[in-house]
Amino acid sequence: MDFTRRETLALGVGAAALTVLPFRVHAAADEAIAAFTGGADVAEGGVDLTAPEIAENGNTVPVSVDAEGAVSILVLATGNPTPGVATFNFGELAGSQMASTRIRLAGTQDVVAIAKMADGSFAKASSTVKVTIGGCGG
C-alpha cells in the first residue's frame, strides 16, 4: 500500500523543517543580546543552562536556566526566525534564580542564556540542541 496523501504531506512537513541545516546565529539574536547587555562584556560560565542534546520533539523542547545571584536571565533560540524566548526577572526576595519552560525550535541550533547579575556584570551559557528526523537506532 502507498502512503495516503495526508501521510505523505506529514512526511513533507517534517522534511521542510529540516531542509535548513544547522542554523547560523541570526543577526536578530546578536541585536537582542546587545540590547540586554548594553554592549557590556559577557563572561562564559556562572549560568547553568539545561537542554537536551537531541530534542525528542522540536516543537516542545524543555530548557531550564539557573544563575545564582542573577536579577534577570535572557533566553534566546538563536536560529529561530524570532530568537527571543523569554526574559526572567527575579526580585530581591526570590528564593532562587532559576526558571524552566518549553520552547519550539525550527531546527538544529544553539540555545543561549545570558544572566544579568546584581553587580551589573553578565554571564552566558550556550547549548546546541539538535533537531533530527530520527530513526535507525541500533
Binding site: E7, A15, P22, P52, I54, E56, T128, I133, C136, G137
Partner: protein, 565 residues
C-alpha cells in the same frame, strides 16, 4: 587498549590499581581440537564482588552465527580508538592470533571458514551454564542485563516479549535497563515491568508530561554482596523517542541527563554506596564521554552499540566494559572493593561457543517451551543462500542488500531504504534460510514496508541527517545506529565533514544518472518512526522475494564510497 603496565601507572586511592584481563588466546589449544568449556570459563576468583554482564541479546534464544563489523569508523576523539578498530588491526592490538577462536569471535575476516570450524555462538542455555559456573565460584555474583532483550525474533514478536521474559527469569537477573523493549508499546512494557522479579532501572526514564522521574523505573538499587554495599544505577537508551517511534510510548521521556546521573551518584555515595555500577544502554562512545563528566562511577557496563571488547577501557577512575550482542558473549568482572574504593579488578569477556559449552538443561527446557507452539512456522525453509549474509558494519551488509533488493523488486521502487540497526545474525553460504532467519533480521513492532515519493533533495536531507547521527564528532549527538542502507542508489560520503556536506555523488544505479534534487523518485522502505505508516510487513516482503529466487547470492558491493577516514 589498556595494558597491565598502563594500569600500574594509574594511582587509585592509596594503592596502585591492578587490572587484569583474562581473555584467552586459545590458538594452540584449538589447533589440537582441545578447546574446552574449562578453558573458556577458567577464572581465578578475585576480590570480593563479581558482576556478570549480558546485553543486547535481541531475543536470540538459540545459537547463531554473528559476524563482527568490517567497517566501524570513529570520528573526532574516537578516531582509531576502540571500539573503532576492526579486523587485523584489532587482532594486533589485543595480540589475537590469526585463525584462533578469538579471531573468529571478535573479528570479521575469513568468517565463513572459521564459522565452519568453530561453529555457532550464543544460546541462552549455554549462557546459563556460564552464569551458573560463575555463581559456583561466587554465589552472590550480580547478574545485570543491559537491555534490548525483549526484541528481535519471531517468538518474541508473537508473544510480545513473553518468551524472553520467561527465559531471562530462569537466569535470575538482579537488574535490567531498556531500549527496544519500549517498542512493545508502553502498556505492554508497564505490564511486564510491574511483574518483574528483579529491578527495572533507569535514572533517565522520565514522565514526559511533568519531566519528573518515572515511578515505575527507579534510578538505582542497592545490593549488599560480599560485605560490600553496591549501588547499581540504570541508564536506558537516551534517544528512544527519536530513533524509535515515540508515539508507541508517549508517556515517557529519556535523554542522557548526565547532570541527573551525577546527582544519583552523589546520592548513593551519601547513602553509603562503596561501589557504584552503571548499567548502561548509552552506547560505547557516549559512555566514555559520560565517564569523563560524571565523577564517582567505578564500573560502566556498556550496551547498545554491540561492541565486544576483550579488555575494559579506563576513563579516569572508571572502567567501561563492552559485552557484545545477540547472546554471543558474557562478561565477568571481579572487583576488589575496600574502604569504599575500587582497588582493582579482573575481567574476562567469555565467548559463548555453542559447541564447546554444555547447555543448561533447565534453561533448554524453558526455551523449548517458548518455541514449541511456533516450531512449524519457525523452521519452514524459504530458500537457500550460496553467499554469506551478514548485517553489521557502518554502511552496508549483504543481508541488508538482500532486503533492499526485495523492496525494489516486490514494491516496484527506484530506491529502497533499510534502517541501520546493529542486530541480526549471519547466515553462512550453503545454509537454508528459514522463516526464523528472516524474522531475526526484520522483526519489530513497526515493520510496515512503505512506498512513497521523495524528491532527490529530500533523499539527500535524510542521508545527511542519518549520517550526522553516526558521525557527529560529539558522541552525545550520536544515536548509536549504523548508516541507513540504500538499494538502487550509490553515493559518496566524507565522514570528516559537518552535517549538510558529507553526502555527494548520489547516483541512481539503474540508469547511472545523478540524482536530480528536484526530480521525484519512488522510494520503498521499512521501520518508519511515523505513526500510521501503511504497507505489508517487511518479513513478508523478504520471504516472498527469497521464495521467488530459490537460492540467493549477494556479494558485497562498492556503491558507497567512503572518504575522510
Amino acid at each position: 587498549m589498556i595494558s597491565r603496565r598502563d594500569f600500574l601507572q594509574v594511582s587509585m586511592a592509596a594503592s596502585a590499581m591492578v587490572g587484569a584481563s583474562g581473555f584467552g588466546n586459545w590458538a594452540r589449544l584449538a589447533a589440537q581440537q582441545k578447546l574446552t568449556q574449562d578453558d573458556l570459563l577458567q577464572f581465578d576468583t578475585y576480590g570480593n564482588v563479581s558482576l556478570i554482564h549480558v546485553t543486547d541479546i535481541h531475543a536470540q534464544l538459540m545459537p547463531i552465527y554473528f559476524r563482527e563489523p568490517e567497517i566501524n569508523l570513529g570520528v573526532g576523539a574516537a578516531f582509531g580508538q576502540v571500539p573503532h578498530v576492526t579486523g587485523a588491526d584489532f587482532r594486533k592490538m589485543y595480540g589475537v592470533a590469526d585463525g584462533s577462536p578469538s579471531h573468529y569471535a571478535l573479528t570479521y575476516n575469513d568468517f565463513t571458514s572459521l564459522a565452519n570450524a568453530y561453529g555457532k555462538v550464543g544460546g541462552l542455555d549455554r549462557v546459563s551454564t556460564v552464569i551458573n559456573s560463575i555463581r559456583a565460584d561466587r554465589p552472590d555474583a550480580l547478574l545485570l542485563d543491559g537491555g534490548d532483550t525483549w526484541h528481535g525474533s519471531y517468538t518474541c514478536y508473537q508473544t510480545e516479549g513473553q518468551d524472553m521474559v520467561n527465559v531471562m527469569n530462569a537466569l535470575k537477573p538482579d537488574a535490567m535497563t531498556f531500549h527496544w523493549e519500549f517498542t512493545l508499546g508502553s502498556d505492554r512494557v508497564n505490564e511486564i515491568v510491574e511483574g518483574l522479579p528483579f529491578a527495572a532501572l533507569g535514572q533517565n526514564i522520565f514522565d514526559a508530561e511533568w519531566d519528573e522521574p518515572a515511578e515505575l523505573f527507579p534510578p538505582y538499587k542497592f545490593f549488599e554482596r560480599g560485605g560490600v554495599n553496591i549501588a547499581v544505577i540504570g541508564q536506558a537508551f537516551p534517544y528512544m523517542p527519536i530513533a524509535n517511534p515515540g508515539w508507541m510510548f508517549p508517556e515517557y521521556s529519556f535523554g542522557i541527563r548526565d547532570e541527573n546521573m551525577q546527582q544519583m551518584v552523589d546520592e548513593v555515595r551519601s547513602k553509603g554506596a562503596e561501589c557504584v555500577v552503571v548499567l548502561s544502554h548509552n552506547g560505547f562512545d557516549v559512555d566514555k564521554k559520560m565517564a569523563g563528566r560524571v565523577k564517582g562511577i567505578d564500573v560502566i557496563l556498556s550496551g547498545h552499540t554491540h561492541d565486544a571488547l576483550p579488555e575494559p577501557v579506563l576513563v579516569g577512575e572508571t572502567i567501561v566494559v563492552a559485552s557484545g550482542s545477540n547472546g554471543k558473549f558474557v562478561s565477568r568482572v571481579d572487583l576488589d572493593i575496600r574502604d569504599g574504593k575500587m582497588m582493582g579488578f579482573r575481567h574476562k569477556l567469555i565467548p559463548i561457543f555453542s559447541d564447546v559449552i554444555t547447555p543448561d538443561p533447565v534453561v533448554t527446557k524453558v526455551i523449548d517451551e517458548q518455541r514449541a507452539p511456533y516450531l512449524d512456522q519457525l523452521t519452514e525453509v524459504i530458500g537457500q543462500t550460496d553467499s554469506l549474509l551478514y548485517r553489521r558494519g557502518n554502511f552496508n551488509g549483504t543481508w541488508d542488500d538482500l532486503i533492499c533488493q526485495a523492496l525494489i523488486e516486490e514494491r516496484e521502487a527506484d530506491i529502497s531504504m533499510s534502517p541501520g540497526v546493529r542486530w541480526g545474525p549471519s547466515i553462512l553460504p550453503g545454509q537454508d534460510i528459514t522463516r526464523e532467519d528472516i524474522w531475526n533480521v526484520t522483526s519489530m513492532t513497526y515493520g510496515e514496508a512503505y512506498r512513497t515519493e521523495m524528491t532527490g533533495e529530500f533523499i539527500h536531507v535524510i542521508m545527511e541527517d542519518v549520517a550526522d547521527n553516526l558521525f557527529n564528532v560529539d558522541p552525545y549527538y550520536q544515536q548509536g545506529g549504523d548508516m541507513v542502507r540504500i538499494g538502487g542508489m550509490g553515493y559518496k560520503i566524507d565522514v570528516s565533514k559537518p552535517q549538510g556536506s558529507r553526502i555527494s555523488e548520489m547516483t541512481l544505479l539503474k540508469t547511472g544518472e545523478a540524482i536530480d534534487p528536484s526530480k521525484t523518485y519512488q522510494v520503498a522502505g521499512w521501520a518508519s518512526v511515523n505513526e500510521g505508516t501503511e504497507g505489508p510487513q517487511i518479513w513478508d516482503v523478504v520471504e516472498s522475494h527469497i521464495r521467488k529466487k530459490g537460492t540467493v547470492h549477494v556479494e558485497p558491493h562498492e556503491n558507497v564510497k567512503v572518504t575522510g577516514v
